[in-house]
């Protein structure tokens, strides 16, 4: 235990660390570890009780989370802009944050990378980085808020997603834009259409006036200042305009899907 403690990094949530480690396990080991380690599961084993009770608590929480999605969608005001800050307020260094270390971050070749656009769009063509760089860009200095609680102010420059959706002839009556990414284990995340059409939602190509570095999602991230950080996918490979809820990397593990700010 003493050795274990030394290995832990101060300020890093042990639970999250374990969770991350679990992710790198093969599926079966992972399932066993989770069922053996989770306290509710352990409790039912100890007491020999039927698991229905713990399942119903989980089910109740899931239902309330869905209800909260609806409440947040109602609260969402498309005209409410996330507060902006002067450049002097930018957090330096801006934190790298992911479920893996920086040296495991995707290394995308900008020359061969292509953005795939799928689903309910008129023009399903793939876009090269050079083509995307030709589109008009705007800059925003906004606060990134992580689901863990911390926040940091950054400067992001890119093309408003709503302009791009218009350009590709997306059906903006569809419910979601679903992003798929190059992160290991395949990160993905759904974005509800009203948030996708928000003026500040951006296909980001630059951080702090420089081409987006690998740490922050090269070649493209989706910056959504009206959402928590995990709803801002990095290393984006494709986007799909869809009416189907396709789930997401963190959403599927229990994080609230709307997660609006």
């Amino acid at each position: 235990m003493g050795r274990m403690r030394k290995l832990l990094i101060p300020g890093v949530d042990k639970t999250l660390l374990v969770r991350d480690a679990v992710k790198s396990m093969p599926d079966l080991t992972r399932r066993r570890f989770i069922s053996g380690g989770a306290s509710l599961g352990a409790l039912t084993l100890l007491t020999g009780c039927d698991v229905t009770d713990s399942f119903s608590a989980e089910e109740m929480l899931k239902q309330v989370s869905k209800f909260n999605d609806g409440v947040q969608a109602l609260m969402f005001n498309p005209n409410a802009m996330a507060p902006t800050f002067p450049e002097s307020a930018i957090t330096k260094p801006f934190p790298f944050n992911a479920y893996y270390d920086l040296d495991e971050a995707p290394e995308v070749d900008g020359k061969t990378w292509k953005l795939e656009v799928r689903g309910l769009v008129e023009n399903k063509k793939t876009w090269t980085l050079d083509e995307l760089y030709q589109l008009p860009q705007v800059k925003q200095v906004t606060r990134h808020i992580c689901v863990e609680g911390w926040s940091a102010i950054g400067s992001w420059t890119g093309t408003p997603l709503r302009d791009f959706l218009k350009l590709v002839g997306a059906d903006t009556r569809a419910k979601y834009v679903w992003f798929q990414c190059a992160d290991k284990d395949g990160y993905n995340s759904p974005l509800d259409m009203p948030s996708a059409l928000h003026a500040q939602t951006q296909m980001t190509f630059k951080f702090g006036d420089e081409i987006l570095p690998r740490a922050y999602g090269f070649p493209m991230k989706i910056r959504v200042p009206t959402k928590l950080g995990f709803k801002n996918p990095k290393y984006v490979l494709s986007m799909e305009v869809t009416n189907d809820y396709k789930g997401g990397f963190w959403e599927d593990q229990g994080y609230n899907s709307f997660s609006g700010s």
Binding site: D13, F76, I145, G149, G254, N256, G260
Partner: protein
């Protein structure tokens, strides 16, 4: 109409006096339950990104990990808020706040604090709160309102950005939320200890008399 009122008064005076009406008891225990859920899940959330150089022991947190803590927190918040709103409305409408909590005078608080510390505070009439109780109960209602508002400010720093700005921005609201929690936990420790010292007050909050 008047006959009914008279017979009602007659009935209550012959029966043992109701110290805590049923609605107060129901709301009190619902609040206690919701508060415990909110605090324990809140500690889980705090641990993901601590504001200070400590974390809460895992065994006293709720949810197992951050996502679980958040699910509990954002479920129990409805219970806390709806229950709290009913309490505030009832407190004003029935005149309970005015009758029970006012007036609060500095002289009264000082003399009752002295009496409490020397063990001379009377508990003969539980329908009347002493000045220390009045101050603490009124204060904790204010803290309760503040913790909900600062929580909303953290949850919706864009949609409710004017509220968030009142707390000095997103990071400011996190600190306000934390210190309100600390105040409530401190209140609970004292409140539970005193209720156990005067068991008939605990009885009144359970069966009303």
């Amino acid at each position: 109409m008047s006959a009914v009122t008279v017979s009602d008064e007659h009935a209550t005076s012959t029966k043992a006096k109701v110290i805590q009406p049923a609605w107060v008891r129901a709301l009190h225990w619902t609040n206690a339950f919701a508060m415990v859920l909110m605090i324990m899940s809140g500690w889980q959330i705090y641990n993901a990104s601590p504001l200070f150089g400590f974390t809460f022991p895992r065994s006293i947190t709720l949810g197992g990990w951050l996502a679980g803590g958040l699910l509990w927190h954002f479920a129990a918040m409805w219970l806390l808020m709806v229950n709290g709103l009913i309490y505030l409305v009832m407190g004003f409408v029935t005149g309970r706040f005015r009758k029970k909590l006012l007036p609060i005078t500095p002289a009264g608080v000082i003399s009752d604090t002295k009496a409490a510390l020397t063990g001379k505070l009377s508990h003969d009439d539980l329908t009347k709160y002493n000045y220390v109780q009045k101050l603490l109960y009124a204060g904790i209602i204010v803290v309760g309102i503040l913790i909900v508002l600062s929580g909303l400010a953290i949850w919706k720093p864009v949609q409710l950005q004017y509220l968030t700005a009142l707390f000095g921005g997103y990071e400011g609201a996190r600190y306000v939320h934390f210190f309100c929690m600390a105040a409530i936990v401190a209140f609970m420790v004292v409140h539970v200890a005193l209720a156990l010292l005067v068991p008939k007050s605990l009885r009144a909050m359970i069966i009303g008399r």
